[in-house]
């Protein structure tokens, strides 16, 4: 701990010297008496001062939590020597809120004393947090000397985004050869009835449709759609976001992406992630719980990195975007680069759906007429972007945190059914 004299020490010594010189100058012993306390207190303070030996441990209830979860943080402070006043300040990263307890408090420790301070934290926002930035300041008995130090008791806390309720998701048009939960458009071994055809050598007897065979007077077999899995690429826009009052479109986008990843992985689909923005990050498609953790961990590192460089989809590694994959883009559509990149993906025949995290709620128009006109023009421009995608056959669902994601995705599903009919 680094010692430092408090301003009192210097002030008292100066006052003592001043009054003593005044006593000399005026030849009055009374002034020496007035000077005495200001001289004696620093002497007493220096004589009694002992360097404090304080130990601090920090324990977190659990290293992983969900958004809005509350968890307990224990701070154990121990000292072998008495410390008259120990001030503790725990630095809390933005995104964690204190529910109960004090993050700045003072204690008095006796001989071999140990105190446990319990703080209750609320995880207000998803993220990767490092807890444990502690500042300590100990004072001597008289308060003339202080010792300060900064302790690094780093404890990692991962706060996962709160999943949205999602009953149905956007089904991909194309499937992969592996088994899954998606009814494929191809015909093969499966549960879902597809068609009837005449019996050929090698067909199983159990697939014969006896009623249809009786009507047609030839052996007819049932054809079925197999259940396959699909490749799904979640395309997160990290070029720009809109922020207001501690909320941001990126927060919502990460929440939606995590929810979609979880739901697609439950269906045994292969899910990959492309975080497209100032910094390009990607995860190759994979399956299972480990892939879910990989995706969520990658999402926790998502941040807006400002970058002027023009980027298009050609910089994304080819294996990250497998052919016939469903690409679900989660974006506020604020940056021209993402608008063009998505149009480019569509031009490359990717099955594309867009969840637009609406920035409209984050941008309130100014009071003047020109501000409101500019706001209306901006909204019109956004509508024009959406219309452009719809002309390309891409469903765009506009989502804000005031409405459930499930309802918004229903619009995408309806659009894709309609678009499929038009193509047919």
């Amino acid at each position: 701990m680094t010692p430092a004299a408090s301003p009192r020490a210097a002030a008292y010594a100066t006052l003592a010297a001043l009054f003593l010189f005044a006593a000399l100058a005026t030849r009055r012993p009374e002034l020496a008496v007035v000077a005495a306390p200001f001289a004696l207190l620093p002497v007493l303070g220096l004589a009694l001062a002992r360097r404090p030996e304080v130990r601090v441990w920090l324990t977190l209830e659990r290293p992983i939590a969900l958004e809005q979860d509350e968890l307990e943080l224990q701070l154990v402070v121990a000292s072998e020597r008495p410390v008259e006043r120990l001030e503790l300040l725990l630095g809390l990263p933005e995104g964690l809120e204190l529910v109960s307890g004090e993050r700045a408090l003072s204690l008095r420790l006796g001989w071999d004393d140990e105190r446990t301070i319990v703080l209750r934290l609320r995880c207000a926002r998803w993220g990767n947090y490092q807890l444990g930035d502690l500042r300590l300041r100990a004072r001597d008995r008289i308060g003339l000397l202080t010792w300060e130090t900064r302790l690094d008791r780093r404890t990692r806390l991962r706060v996962y985004p709160l999943p949205e309720t999602l009953r149905r998701i956007v089904a991909p048009i194309s499937t992969q050869p592996f088994s899954g939960n998606q009814v494929a458009r191809q015909k093969g071994e499966g549960l879902e009835f597809a068609d009837l055809r005449e019996f050929t050598a090698g067909d199983r007897v159990r697939s014969i449709n006896w009623r249809a065979s009786a009507r047609r007077n030839v052996l007819v077999v049932n054809e079925r759609h197999p259940e396959r899995n699909a490749d799904v690429i979640l395309f997160l826009d990290t070029f720009a976001d809109a922020r207001a009052g501690g909320r941001s479109t990126l927060d919502l986008a990460v929440r939606a992406t995590a929810t979609l990843a979880s739901r697609y992985l439950e269906r045994r689909d292969r899910v990959g992630l492309v975080s497209f923005g100032g910094i390009l990050r990607w995860l190759s498609p994979g399956m299972g719980m480990s892939q879910q953790y990989r995706i969520v961990d990658a999402l926790l590192a998502s941040e807006i990195v400002f970058n002027y460089a023009w980027k298009d989809v050609s910089i994304i590694p080819a294996r990250t975007l497998p052919p016939q994959a469903l690409v679900v883009a989660v974006t506020p559509l604020l940056d021209d680069r993402i608008v063009e990149a998505l149009a480019d993906l569509r031009a490359r025949r990717y099955d594309l759906a867009i969840v637009e995290v609406s920035p409209a709620g984050f941008a309130t128009p100014g009071p003047s007429e020109s501000d409101q006109l500019a706001h209306r023009l901006w909204l019109l421009r956004r509508e024009e972007i959406r219309a452009r995608y719809e002309r390309l056959g891409v469903a765009v669902a506009t989502w804000s945190d005031e409405q459930p994601l499930d309802g918004v995705l229903e619009g995408v599903r309806a659009f894709r059914r309609h678009a499929r009919l038009v193509r047919a």
Binding site: T2, P3, A4, A5, P7, R8, A9, A10, A11, Y12, A13, T14, L15, A16, A17, L18, F19, L20, F21, A22, A23, L24, T26, R27, R28, P29, E30, L31, A32, V33, V34, A35, A36, P37, F38, A39, L40, L41, P42, V43, L46, A49, R85, E87, L89, E102, A104, L105, S106, L107, R108, I142, G143, L145
Partner: protein
């Protein structure tokens, strides 16, 4: 601030001469203003300045009106120390730290001990001075030794606090 104003008012009352009393009131107003500014703006340097101004009032009373040994000196010392301690305490209270129960009581008890100790020690010193009636060179030597002691104290404090 109230303690400072009270101490200054006390000095104005102590002054027999009307001119000196008015001057003391004026200095008290300045001292309290300096103290208030320091407390509001969180400038600790203003505290010793205010104490020095209040002390100057007592020096003026001693210089102009009292020839005999003033037995009120320990009370003055206690009052000035109390003003200084309370002012520093009020600055410390600005730090947003939650104190555990009993902290204020301990602090008040410590302050009361200091003030009573100062009054007691001052009374003993004054009694000693009066008894031996040490004047001239003896008082000069005592004062010089005390002043040198204060300077040595400053040097010691600087050495102890350097990391």
């Amino acid at each position: 601030m109230l303690a400072g104003a009270g101490t200054g008012a006390g000095f104005a009352v102590l002054a027999d001469d009307g001119y000196l009393a008015r001057a003391n009131i004026l200095v008290t107003v300045v001292a309290v203003a300096v103290l208030a500014t320091g407390l509001v703006l969180d400038v600790s340097v203003s505290i010793p300045v205010a104490i020095a101004l209040l002390g100057a009032e007592y020096v003026a009373i001693l210089g102009f009106e009292t020839d005999a040994l003033d037995t009120r000196a320990p009370l003055v010392a206690g009052a000035l120390l109390a003003v200084a301690e309370l002012a520093y305490w009020s600055l410390e209270l600005r730090v947003p730290v939650v104190d555990e129960a009993g902290t204020y009581l301990r602090r008040i008890a410590l302050l009361a001990t200091f003030v009573l100790g100062v009054v007691g020690i001052g009374a003993i010193v004054l009694t000693f001075v009066e008894t031996v009636a040490a004047g001239g060179v003896a008082v000069d030597l005592l004062g010089a030794a005390a002043a040198l002691g204060a300077l040595a104290l400053l040097a010691l404090a600087a050495r102890r606090t350097s990391p």
